[in-house]
């Protein structure tokens, strides 16, 4: 099975074959024999040759796998290759706007923009409060605020759309 993995902007093709505990993983052209055993609750014991790693893998929304290994954390988007091709071709002309979603549960402290307002990258859009911390979310593109779907004081859940910039 072929995947495209995305980590920090780099796209790396990875092919996995095998079964049970013995896998062959081809990564950027290099084939590796991997002895991998699930150890419960998303834990994996990996032997790459003799090198041993205990990795924790959690799946997040959107096919993102968060991997903890030796005190480091990696967020990796993994897509089956065909889907990746479809998505990137189909969405080749991806809207250049920004759909700001809540990345965590929280409460809206302030909406810093109004509909129709022009924004530049880095302009504050919304301040969300969670866990006693206020966090400002900024525009990543230049454009015009098309929609504001929340108001101050409102509780939001992860994935809720807050502001749409076109």
């Amino acid at each position: 099975m072929k995947f495209e993995t995305q980590l920090d902007g780099a796209v790396v093709p990875v092919e996995v074959t095998g079964d049970g505990s013995r896998y062959r993983v081809t990564l950027g052209g290099n084939a590796l024999e991997v002895d991998a055993r699930p150890t419960g609750a998303g834990g994996w014991s990996l032997l790459l040759g003799r090198a041993s790693f205990a990795a924790g893998v959690s799946e997040e929304e959107g096919g993102v796998f968060v991997v903890d290994v030796d005190g480091e954390t990696y967020s990796i988007r993994v897509e089956e290759e065909t889907r990746y091709i479809i998505r990137t071709r189909g969405g080749g002309a991806a809207a250049r706007g920004q759909i700001l979603k809540a990345p965590m549960p929280g409460r809206v402290v302030m909406v810093e923009v109004t509909v129709g307002q022009a924004v530049a990258p880095g302009d504050g859009l919304v301040i969300l409060e969670a866990m006693k911390m206020e966090n400002e979310f900024k525009a990543s593109v230049a454009g015009t605020v098309k929609e504001i779907r929340v108001e101050a004081g409102q509780a939001v859940n992860p994935g809720d759309v807050l502001v749409v910039v076109e």
Binding site: L7, V25, L27, A36, A55, V67, E80
Partner: protein
């Protein structure tokens, strides 16, 4: 040992409530937990002997409700209340209310809490005792013209601070005179919102100082001792991330002088119980009193591990009227201890809070590793309270060995399902300045500039791909979005429910 109380209520949650429960259990004291609607399954509820609901999730309606806390103590027959840190720990009115209800408040007398809660008053006490304070004024500045004159006297850059402040709110660093008026405005506004008192004062800004604090213990019979210092310079936005004892920047003589200053301050305000005097230490080893924290600190375990003294136990003994039973000459320090704060924050996204369910939790263990945690595997970290999940503390005979041990322990720590500060803590531990003990409050800015490539990218990619592969073998994936055109109908390996080879 006869327990100093038969039953105690903990007016807090999270790891500190668990810490107090453990101390009580070891002393034979029954424990009462309180919990908001968001905390029914919190660890402190599971571990306490009794648990009392005190209302809705927002702290103002539960953990900050004096009325509900006192009612819970009365209903359960508790004799004493431990406030932990945060919430009502330094609220003199709460301490008063406890006294009125016949409950022993585990903390200093209300008068001492009040004396130390007003930062200006504390500054004046310090100055009157000959304890150095950061140059600046010892009164709130109300007039902008006065402020401008004072700032010139003190010398730019200056720091604006809230009189009733704490935790960085109402603080503003001002580099140039033309920015002063605007900074005064926002600092007053923040202070007013946060503390109900908009007063601010002006201090000289010390560039890259160390943040060093002294732990004291005072009994109700006039004995006060200090337990040495904690180095707390590793901060981000005034939030401590790593603390240690001893400080690599404090020698025995400086420890003696700072310790004596802290004890003088405590004695002057009639302080009883555990407390902490915060200081800034500049590059030349001069120290300046900042404020006194009238409570147990988050970072108290590093002091416990180098002195062998259980600070929560001491708090309870002192509050029950017992004598310390030892003097300054009995306090000895051994080895080095470091604490790392494991917060539910995503260091890759500007330390964004990361509440949610912990799907996987693997805590480090083994020799001289202590984990003071308020969470467990399967627990959902609520979005209502602070991000501290656990404190990882290690001890070793010297700092080099302690750093190596902490590095080892962080490597074993895994928190899945939500993000944590573990990766950034490990980066700090391995930074040459940290290893060398070159610590100051600007450290985190230097760290942010350092690009650190991950060492295990390939392993992570393999693990992610294997997890995706096994998942594809178990599940029929959802169909692709219908809008993407003819490709959608073409080869969809993985959709048959069996694993493609």
């Amino acid at each position: 040992m006869t327990p100093p109380f038969s039953k105690l209520l903990i007016a807090n949650r999270g790891e500190i409530a668990v810490r107090v429960i453990r101390a009580c259990r070891e002393m034979g004291i029954a424990t009462v937990a309180v919990f908001s609607e968001a905390d029914r399954e919190a660890l402190h509820v599971l571990l306490a002997d009794e648990a009392v609901p005190i209302g809705p999730a927002p702290a103002a309606q539960s953990y900050l409700s004096t009325e509900k806390l006192i009612a819970a103590a009365r209903a359960t027959g508790a004799q004493a209340v431990h406030p932990g840190y945060g919430f009502l720990a330094e609220n003199a009115s709460f301490a008063d209310a406890c006294a009125t209800a016949g409950l022993v408040f585990i903390g200093p007398p209300p008068a001492a809490v009040r004396a130390m809660g007003d930062k200006m008053a504390a500054r004046r006490v310090a100055a009157s005792l000959g304890v150095p304070v950061v140059p600046g004024v010892s009164e709130a500045v109300t007039d902008d013209k006065d402020a401008a004159r004072i700032a010139e006297d003190v010398g730019y850059p200056v720091m604006l601070k809230a009189v009733m402040g704490g935790g960085g709110k109402g603080m503003r660093l001002v580099h140039r005179r033309e920015d002063l008026a605007g900074a005064l405005r926002t600092a007053r506004s923040e202070a007013g919102a946060a503390f109900g008192d908009a007063s601010v004062y002006i201090e000289r800004y010390l560039a890259a100082p160390r943040h060093v604090e002294i732990q004291i213990l005072a009994d109700a019979h006039g004995s006060t001792v200090h337990l040495g210092e904690r180095e707390c310079s590793i901060q981000r936005r005034h939030q401590k991330l790593i603390e240690e004892s001893p400080s690599p920047g404090v020698d025995a003589e400086l420890r003696r002088r700072m310790g004596a200053a802290a004890c003088r301050l405590a004695a002057a305000v009639g302080y009883v119980n555990a407390g902490t005097a915060e200081f800034l230490v500049d590059a030349r080893g001069s120290f300046y009193f900042l404020e006194m924290n009238a409570r147990l600190q988050v970072e108290h375990p590093v002091t416990e591990l180098v002195t062998g003294r259980d600070l929560v136990r001491e708090q309870l003994r002192i509050a029950a009227g017992e004598k310390l039973g030892y003097g300054q000459e009995d306090i000895a320090w051994s080895g080095a201890a470091i604490e790392c704060r494991i917060n539910a924050e995503d260091p890759d996204q500007g330390f964004l809070p990361s509440p949610g369910r912990i799907t996987r939790l693997s805590a480090p263990a083994g020799p001289w590793v202590r984990n003071d945690s308020g969470v467990y595997a399967g627990y959902t970290v609520p979005r209502y309270y602070d991000t501290l999940m656990a404190k990882l503390i290690v001890w070793a005979p010297d700092r080099e060995a302690a750093v190596a041990r902490m590095d080892r322990a962080l490597g074993e720590y895994q928190v899945g399902g939500i993000r944590s500060t573990i990766p950034v803590l490990r980066r700090i531990l391995r930074h040459p300045d940290f290893v060398a003990g070159r610590l100051d409050t600007q450290f985190m800015e230097r760290l942010d500039d350092a690009t650190v490539p991950g060492r295990h990218r390939t392993v992570a990619l393999i693990a992610a791909a294997l997890a995706a592969y096994e998942r594809a073998g178990r599940e029929i994936p959802p169909a692709p979005a219908p809008t993407v055109g003819p490709w959608a109908r073409l080869g969809r390996p993985g959709s048959s429910g069996s694993r493609p080879r």
